[in-house]
Subunit: 513 residues, 2 copies
């Protein structure tokens, strides 16, 4: 729980615009030798504020990643070596790396050292990521408002599907599922086949409460949990309840998920910019919206983690009456950083928390959970009754069995390995085929977001996605997931494709650029 306000306390990384080019001349003779051997970012600890060496170091490295001096895939110096170079204690470097890891910018690779895995979202005035996309022509994928958009793209034939949002589906634990189903069917009483509690079966609500306590640090009792048919339904129920409550606006992250925005209809969704620390709470305040939907653990699509300071600001906003809807859509998928604690754990009476097994097991299961402040529960229960009288019982009981038996945990460990390999394959392919692309959010999740500087690509990403689809490769244009003008980009899922498919798909993108 004391990780809840973790993350770096930096409010800005403007100082990193300092490229240190002129430093070598002022370094003095003492450091001359080590400078010559390391040359790592021309860092000079004498620039650091007193007592803030780790902060300062993390900030410098983050700035270097943001402006492209350190590219994704490049290795940081070993902690001992860098400490020696900088003549600081090794703990300073370890702490800085820890913060960067927590933020998802770098990742420990065991003997492979510490590697850059993600670029902070454009926030440093680095000159890249121009905001001119609005004037560009867009066609097939342009500003989709039709609810059928996803179905249409899903139905489109493609040799390689790099749509985001899917885990490794080939790894679905069929044998464990069937075993669990047999066990469940053997135990059921006749009345279990009748109409059940619309909030979900007691067994699954208990299992989810334990899962969330254990895996997400959320203290939860079974009565806190309502089982829903995926996060889509959780949002639908919330919208019904909020709308009936007179709420007409819910702020969303910018960029942010198109699918989520569709599910928030008919509420207005004022966009709030996300920077390297997550959603900008000052901008959230400025919208005047009474509620906000967030993806704090791994922002979709940028992969940014909501920073500690932002969390504090957000919790202040919530305590003053704001409602936070936390979409914890892929928090279990992390590779190079510790788990990011859920907002729900901090302020349960101000946070609606939604999660699902869509990215743990399979979207086809249509199972998820919603934890809401007590004040909303009765209305949410009525809304659930109206939409379906409760989710199907058998799959709930099978899932509970998988959670309780440890099968789900084992499955998660297995696919995490697959996903990591696939992510690495994608980063490698991008490095080879898309040299102008900047990779975001690689430390966790099931997808990468790439953006293009003007040098690399100045067309519309919708055109690019359309052309890729014509070549048999399915990707999301970043513009799908934006409401405001934005640099062109693509959102690329890697988790459901093999390394070979990934390499091929990215190669096709490279040919198109």
């Amino acid at each position: 729980m004391n990780r809840s306000n973790g993350g770096p306390p930096h409010r800005s990384i403007n100082r990193s615009a300092d490229r240190g080019v002129a430093r070598s001349a002022t370094g003095g003779d003492v450091a001359a030798e080590s400078r010559a051997t390391s040359d790592f970012l021309q860092l000079d600890p004498r620039d650091a504020p007193r007592g803030g060496l780790s902060d300062w170091l993390a900030r410098q490295i983050r700035g270097a990643i943001a402006d492209g001096r350190l590219t994704v895939g490049s290795r940081l110096p070993a902690t001992r070596a860098l400490a020696d170079e900088l003549r600081v204690s090794r703990g300073v470097v370890t702490e800085a790396y820890r913060r960067l890891t927590e933020d998802g910018h770098v990742a420990g690779r065991g003997r492979g050292g510490t590697v850059v895995v993600a670029v902070p979202q454009a926030s440093t005035g680095s000159g890249k990521a121009p905001v001119e996309g609005a004037a560009r022509s867009r066609d097939v994928f342009t500003a989709p408002t039709d609810l059928g958009t996803f179905d249409a793209v899903r139905a489109a034939a493609a040799r390689i599907d790099l749509s985001p949002g899917l885990p490794d589906l080939a790894a679905f634990p069929r044998a464990a599922w069937l075993r669990a189903e047999r066990s469940v069917l053997a135990r059921l009483t006749p009345s279990d086949f009748g109409y059940g509690d619309p909030r979900g079966t007691p067994a699954l609500r208990a299992a989810v409460a334990r899962w969330l306590s254990h895996n997400r640090g959320i203290p939860a009792a079974p009565d806190d949990v309502m089982i829903v048919s995926g996060t889509a339904q959780a949002l639908r129920l919330l919208v019904d309840v909020l709308h009936a409550d007179g709420i007409t606006r819910i702020a969303v992250e910018e960029p942010g998920s198109l699918g989520v925005r569709q599910h928030l209809r008919p509420l207005d969704t004022p966009p709030v910019p996300v920077d390297a620390h997550g959603i900008r709470v000052d901008a959230l305040r400025a919208t005047g919206a009474p509620a906000v939907l967030l993806t704090p653990a791994h922002q979709f699509p940028t992969g940014v983690v909501l920073g500690g300071e932002r969390r504090r600001e957000l919790m202040d906003w919530a305590r003053e009456g704001g409602l936070v809807v936390e979409d914890d859509y892929d928090a279990e998928h992390r590779y190079d950083r510790p788990a990011v604690p859920a907002l729900r754990a901090l302020l349960p009476e101000h946070v609606c928390y939604a999660g699902s097994v869509s990215k743990l097991l399979a979207p086809a299961l249509r199972l998820g959970w919603l934890l809401a402040p007590a004040a909303y529960r009765d209305a949410l229960l009525d809304a659930k009754r109206l939409v379906d009288l409760g989710s199907a019982a058998l799959p709930q009981l099978v899932l509970a069995h998988l959670m309780d038996s440890g099968d789900l945990e084992r499955h998660l460990r297995l696919i995490r390995k697959h996903h990591r390999r696939r992510r690495d394959a994608m980063i490698e392919a991008i490095g080879e085929c898309l040299p102008g692309a900047v990779v975001h959010g690689a430390a966790a999740g099931l997808h990468l977001t790439i953006t293009f500087g003007e040098d690399a690509y100045d067309g519309s990403d919708a055109d690019l996605a359309t052309a890729a689809l014509a070549r048999g490769v399915k990707v999301h244009p970043l513009s799908w997931h934006t409401q405001l003008p934005h640099a062109p980009g693509l959102v690329l899922g890697y988790a459901a494709s093999t390394p070979t498919e990934i390499a091929e798909g990215v190669a096709v993108l490279g040919q198109l650029l």
Copy 2:
């Protein structure tokens, strides 16, 4: 298909008020001998209109059942014997019995002969079924508007549960289900575990189309079928779409299901009386409602079948622009009469058809289907996307397998036998323990409705249900399922209870009266 306007052509059974008491004096010497032996309703064929002997005979018998001269469980004379008595051809009697069977009033019992199984809904001015219930005190079960009503009653502990709406849950085909699941899991491709068609899996939509064509006489293509999470969700989606279309009222049957009415919120539900032939279409017209929800095959809760003339009137109303929502909730459960064709088969472009497996297999599966006129399909698909992006795929595929393999058909035959035995046990118990009760709708379905004349019980049925629950027996008061004042009554499910439980439960009711 030529059964579609089946059912008896009688418009009224007022003539059955003729009790024939004085007939014996006018019978003449010719019939005296046979009258003396049969004395069956003191029938005199000379009262019959020319060429309408079968009609007349059916009407006389129906009247006798309605006014209590023939009670549920009593046996009609053998066709040959009655033909001899009446000096008519045997075909006249056979045809009259056929019509009564079709209406669900009597049932063939093989060697057991033809037995009265259901009373026409109060419509004959017989002096019973007074409409004074409004003034009576009601408490726990009174005019429930809270959506939690059903959950509260379901959660209440009871030794014997005679709530209507459940099939024999102990017979759930666990082995067949597991077999089908194994087969499905073995065949699935990884992408089957992803997000699917929100209308349902192609396999189940095809299987449902075949099932409906075969079992319900509905010509249906897979594209006509949308898979939903039970009829509750079908109604919810329809309400969303109709409401968005500016429709604010949908007429419902009176009496009619409370659960259905709850799911039609926020639409107004003007009540339209049901008589022995089903909903009164003249009264429907009088409401001015643009849509109506019906249970034509086995009206809930009365068990009345929508008659042929009424069907024609209703189809006229629909052709003039009315929208019919057909809730075919338990059409597969019939014991003593042929299948009643679905309205959807007659006029697909004016009928939304909803069905589910809740009463075929188990409500816990939360699987059903909705067939809508083409004009509503896109909007319904959007509504389905919003509520859950589609129902869970695995149970859909297992169900499709059970339908295609014949397992579901076999299951239906099995539970039909169980249900018939249980129904008979309930009728027998009612005959023994509730002599003043009139039984309705026994020819089909999963429940009986009983009403009480003033002599038998003049309290409120909500009080009776409350008292029964206190004695460990769960039943629905008929008043739950009415919007207008109505004679007190109970709705008693028999399908999910053993004959012993049924006998015990009804005995408790008898003690309370």
